[in-house]
Amino acid sequence: MKLLIIEDEQGLCESIQKYFTEEGNICEACNNLKVAIQKIDLYEYDCILLDIGLPDGEGFIVLEYLKSIGRDECVLIISARNSLEDKLKGLNIGADDYITKPFHLSELKARISAVFRRKSFGSTNTLIYKEVHIDLLGRSVTVNNKKIVFTKKEYDMLLYFIANKGKVISKNAIAEHLWGDEMDMIDSFDFIYTHIKNLRKKLMEVTGTDFFASVYGVGYKFI
């Protein structure tokens, strides 16, 4: 997947690049509108991460430009403003999703994966990870033709982990993804443990492999 990151905050830009650069992914970055438009003219991307607040103007211009030249890259807006108007405006001009700062890289990756999948696979939407087959439309999971029944949250968590395979995901990120970032109760993430345990057990019963590795105190990794 070829990715363009348009973000003026150097630290954030580097982090995203680092997290996304892996086998099969190419990440390019720029920090203003002018360079972004030049890059878009020169190359094609699968996905564009677009910050709204850029030093030489609002990121919406990129969206309008893409629309005017008839390109349909996936665009995910990054904004410091959790404003409904900005969100609606972005989505109306052609953005595919909208994420508000601060966010976890794992969340960003899951969102991009979802958007990218939606655009590139159309209606025959099956996600395959090793022996796990996920029918994204029917929201059902089969392993070796055997159906596993997951709760809604377990299913969401599985997709989240697959999108971030091989990465350690912090408990904070998991909690935010599943219970929303307005949840005001960080005292204990014990409930995540219970949840992961169930997911782990269900997958293990059918596949015989343990997909999860616990990373001391911080979080979990899907392998």
Partner: protein, 417 residues
């Protein structure tokens, strides 16, 4: 008592007493003048009486005209002529009326007499009474007119003042539309009006400035926060980290997470204050609560809390986002402060009122303080803004929120009427 009443009271007391005093003086003067007139009449009578005696060489009959004349023989050699009040008995009438008398000495045929002429005071008394009556009536009319004038004129004069007062009473710092308050020709009120307009405009602009500042500050903090979060997300990928380092990272995660929630809470408060969330729609509160209960079920279960829900359809018109925040905060609050073992949460909708009850190890909370910003228990790990936001949302929509403590349960009661 109103200023106008104070003024009325003073002015009425003063004018009434002035009128009484002047009436008295008036009466005395008229009385004096009338008496003087009577005495002049009597002097003329005496003159005529002497002329009569000198020409006719006889004493006149006792009643030779309206006046009564009488003579008393005396041995006195000298007698000062004097005027005095005396009863006047009109022979035509049986009654005795007040009169004025003069008495003096007359020498007639070698014999001294004291003559007394009494004249009726009736006509002058009558005059005085009429004048007094007219004066009293006029005074009463004058007072009445004064009161009415005071009432209406003063009321009218003070109207700009009451307009300004009404404006100040209804003054809402969050309202941006400050209008010119009162039209008046009175300089004092013009000054007051100007001062109040200027002051309110300044207050509103300061407040707007503060809100903008809060909003900008919160937004500006989001980017560095996202740098911290993303750096941490990358840092934990490092397989060389040992458990101590990971523990430290976990703490940084918690802190940055808390900071970002604090920021978000501040932004929500600013948005509510600024009335920026206008996306009102009709919602069924029971559906929202049910969804949230689903969302929180794992956490509730994990904390061994028994959740009892009794919901009826309750339609409200509000921003979906704010109602989400509201129910979120109620749940977060009820879960966070619940008992460690055998806790319970009861949610009930009765009519248009929502009851959110939870058990807790804490006893009754201070009703005055719990909705204050950053008021929280020492052990609480929350932002201290949850209930403040709740209160603000309720105020924004005119819902009434109450906190009660009964049967060892903390109760939040929201009346959606």
């Amino acid at each position: 008592m109103k200023l106008a009443s104070h003024y009325n009271k003073a002015s009425i007391i003063i004018s009434a007493s002035m009128l009484v005093i002047s009436g008295l003086i008036y009466y005395l003067i008229i009385n004096y003048i009338a008496r003087k007139g009577l005495d002049d009449d009597l002097k003329e009578e005496v003159g005529e009486f002497f002329i009569y005696v000198n020409t006719n060489h006889a004493l006149p009959v006792a009643q030779y005209d309206e006046n009564q004349t009488s003579y008393v023989k005396t041995n006195l050699k000298s007698y000062n002529t004097r005027f005095y009040d005396a009863p006047y008995a009109n022979p035509n009438h049986s009654e005795v009326k007040p009169g004025r008398a003069v008495s003096g000495l007359i020498r007639f045929k070698g014999q001294n007499y004291i003559y007394t002429i009494i004249e009726s005071r009736d006509p002058t008394e009558y005059l005085i009474q009429i004048i007094l009556l007219v004066t009293i009536v006029l005074t009463a009319i004058l007072l009445l007119v004064l009161i009415i004038t005071n009432m209406y004129v003063l009321g009218g004069l003070w109207r700009p003042f009451y307009n300004i007062l009404g404006f100040l009473k209804g003054f809402n710092i969050a309202d941006t539309d400050t209008i010119a308050i009162a039209n008046t020709n009175v300089d004092e009120f013009k000054d007051l009006n100007d001062a109040v307009s200027k002051m309110s405009a300044r207050v509103v602009s300061e407040y707007q400035g503060l809100k903008t500042f809060t909003e900008n500050a919160s937004h500006e903090m989001m980017t560095p926060l996202s740098v911290i979060t993303s750096k941490l997300d990358n840092l934990i990928q490092d397989e060389r980290l040992d458990s101590d380092q990971l523990k430290e990272i976990t703490d940084i995660y918690s802190a940055s997470n808390k900071l970002s929630r604090l920021n978000q809470s501040l932004l929500i408060l600013v948005k509510i204050d600024n009335d920026l969330l206008q996306d009102n729609e009709t919602l069924d509160l029971s559906v929202v609560i049910f969804d949230k209960a689903q969302q929180f079920q794992e956490i509730i279960k994990n904390k061994n809390i028994t959740l009892t829900i009794e919901l009826n359809k309750l339609e409200i018109t509000a921003s979906k986002y704010l109602i989400d925040v509201m129910i979120n905060n109620l749940f977060s609050n009820a879960i966070r402060h619940n008992k460690i073992t055998a806790g319970e949460i009861k949610i009930r909708i009765a009519g248009r009122t929502l009851f959110f009850q939870n058990s807790s190890n804490q006893s009754e909370l201070d009703n005055e303080l719990i909705f204050n910003r950053f008021y929280k228990g020492k052990a609480s790990d929350g932002t201290g803004l949850g209930l403040a936001i709740l209160k603000n949302i309720c105020n924004n929509y005119g819902f009434e929120i109450l906190y009660k403590y009964c049967d060892e349960l903390h109760v939040f009661e929201i009346d959606f009427n």
